[in-house]
């Protein structure tokens, strides 16, 4: 898939997730916009996970530990053909499997998340099983930066390093915000890189909205043999819509009719720019 196609997808995914959040009158707007480029690159350029091989353990794994950004995951899974996109019209509706956090009832989801600080331990288990069975598939998880305050993450970080799980890749959606405000004001996690290094992980930074940089860094794992890899993806919460960016009140705010119209207009303008910039 060309860079232009992937960048177009990023914008279209944003339009869709905002539309479904509006339709459901519920959702995690800021975080979904923050991590959508990461999911885009993972599913369209990196992961060996398809609707065809999903029931076969012989594939890569992706676990979204920051489960609240589920709308980003759902629009990507729909685009990849895991389920008809029209299913998302039932998002958060009574009796729907498309609940406000990922569940295995939705095709393409392999672990139920939503409570924070759970995904990494689960991925350590998956990565250990891969090693035990001498398989070469990779296990990826997406963590929120606010989520890192959950102590269970640090238990999992220790185990991953102890077992030298170089098939495990954690990506931090480092948007520096959480529901209450700036993470540095809520409970500072800095210096993050040093903390991961001290726990025995190999660390790289990336612009979490730069498709090519994300592709490059994700293609270069493991960064070191016998060490798990962590990518600190510098992101902007609400990325792509001017009035949502860097505003913690949009953590789970649903756009009004007028806000949705303006957001779609901004994203359509961005789409025109992508088309103008890439002639491939």
């Amino acid at each position: 898939m060309t860079v232009r196609e992937v960048r177009e997808k990023s914008i279209n995914y944003r339009k869709k997730l905002l539309t479904y959040i509006k339709h459901a009158n519920a959702g995690h707007t800021g975080g979904s916009l923050s991590c959508i480029d990461i999911l885009n690159v993972l599913y369209n350029r990196i992961l060996d996970v398809t609707p065809e091989n999903f029931t076969n353990p012989n594939r890569d794994h992706y676990i979204q530990s920051k489960g609240h950004s589920v709308e980003a995951l759902y629009v990507v899974l729909a685009d990849k053909g895991f389920f008809p996109e029209s299913d998302l019209n039932t998002l958060c509706r009574h009796g729907s499997h498309y609940v406000g956090h990922p569940t295995r009832k939705v095709n393409g989801v392999e672990h139920n998340t939503g409570a924070l600080g759970h995904g990494l331990s689960f991925c350590v288990g998956l990565a250990l099983a891969e090693k035990m069975d001498s398989m070469n598939h990779k296990v990826y998880t997406l963590l929120g930066d606010g989520e890192l305050a959950e102590g269970s993450n640090w238990e999992a970080l220790l185990t991953a390093a102890h077992y030298q799980l170089d098939n495990l890749i954690a990506i931090v959606d480092f948007n520096k915000l959480q529901i209450t405000g700036w993470t540095k004001d809520v409970c500072a996690t800095d210096p993050l890189e040093q903390k991961f290094c001290a726990f025995g992980w190999s660390v790289q930074h990336v612009d979490g909205h730069d498709i090519e940089a994300l592709t490059e860094v994700l293609n270069s794992v493991p960064f070191e043999r016998e060490k798990p890899s962590v990518i600190i993806a510098h992101t902007i919460k609400g990325k792509g819509v001017s009035f949502i960016e860097n505003n913690h009140t949009w953590h789970h705010h649903v756009p009004t009719d007028a806000e949705l119209v303006q957001a779609i207009q901004e994203l359509d303008q961005a789409l025109v720019q992508v088309i103008d910039n890439y002639t491939d």
Binding site: H111, F122, G125, D133, S152
Partner: protein, 316 residues
């Protein structure tokens, strides 16, 4: 008084059974949280090092890692003292195991007041109540070596989560050689129609000994081992209530939220009423001491159970 034939600690039987099974089935994996000694799993680690994962003193991680291994097709036993396993990692049990439906076998060692002298931190008197309130997990409290062995064999093949809790004291045999162990199927160990003892785990021995004491007083007792507390064998409880004059439930757990209340709710909703007593640990600052000393304090020894039965019978 008749004696019961003495056996090993259920903990030891668990360990021996698991080693036997794991030698034949390489997909069996044990995960420990610095608990291999407490779980009698040092020989497992020595004989089958590739089938053991150690996460250190980190019970939340223990359960999360176990869920991931199970999702990848391993038959995973997460082994840790019941007190930590079912409290520290309750959210991992709820979400990563039960809600996500990864078939982890959670093994709560030295459950109840097995670590009696170590104090409340090490008692697990909440575990059955806590896990009963979580969807998609079976709860088993084996009474003796036979039930322990059978429950571990059963757990290996289970496709959904299960919690098995037992103690560390050498425990007497309660079953005849022809006993049959099935998930959710209570076992009638002794027949009688005056008193019904409905017991789970290591209180079954005390109930059976109480029945022997009561026999000398001309009182006949039915003793039922409800090894599976969830799903409860409601049919057996109702049938027993119809047959006997009084019912006493016995459990090594707080009197709230465990076997006794489960039976009471079942009987009430079936419209069945009989003199009924829930024996277990009272809601108070728990006494310390050996398991049997604590049983005595809370009316859970054979002598105390037979006294309770006589008192309840006297009020009919």
């Amino acid at each position: 008084m008749n004696q019961l034939e003495s056996g090993k600690a259920n903990l030891e039987v668990f360990s021996e059974t698991l080693i036997d099974l794991a030698k034949k089935d390489k997909s069996i994996v044990v995960v420990t949280s610095d608990s291999r000694g407490s779980g009698k799993l040092v020989p497992f680690g020595e004989q089958l090092p590739d089938q053991m994962i150690e996460v250190g003193i980190a019970e939340q991680n223990l359960v999360g890692v176990a869920a991931g291994l199970a999702a990848a097709g391993k038959k995973v036993f997460a082994v840790s003292p019941a007190c930590f396993l079912t409290a520290r990692s309750l959210e991992q049990i709820k979400n990563d195991v039960c809600y996500s439906d990864h078939p982890v076998k959670l093994i709560g060692i030295s459950a109840g007041v097995s670590y009696g002298a170590l104090g409340t931190t090490h008692h697990s008197l909440h575990d059955i109540a806590a896990l009963r309130a979580i969807n998609n997990i079976s709860i088993i409290a084996p009474a003796d070596n036979f039930e322990t062995r059978e429950s571990i064999k059963l757990a290996v093949e289970m496709q959904h989560p299960v919690y098995i809790r037992f103690g560390k004291r050498a425990i007497e045999h309660v079953h005849k050689p022809d006993a049959v162990f099935k998930l959710g199927k209570a076992i009638i160990i002794r027949e009688g129609d005056d008193v019904a003892f409905i017991a789970a785990g290591e209180t079954v021995v005390q109930s059976l000994l109480a029945a022997q004491l009561l026999e000398q007083k001309g009182v006949s007792c039915r003793v039922v081992s409800v090894h599976t507390i969830k799903p409860l064998d409601g049919k057996a409880v109702i049938e027993t209530a119809k047959k006997c004059r009084i019912m006493i439930t016995v459990e090594e757990h707080l009197v709230y939220g465990g076997l006794g209340e489960a039976c009471a709710a079942h009987l009430m909703q079936a419209g069945i009423s009989l003199p009924f007593k829930v024996v277990g640990i009272r809601d108070e600052y728990t006494v310390t001491g050996s398991q049997l000393e604590i049983f005595k304090d809370y009316g859970m020894t054979a002598e105390k159970l037979s006294e309770s039965a006589m008192q309840l019978l006297a009020h009919i």
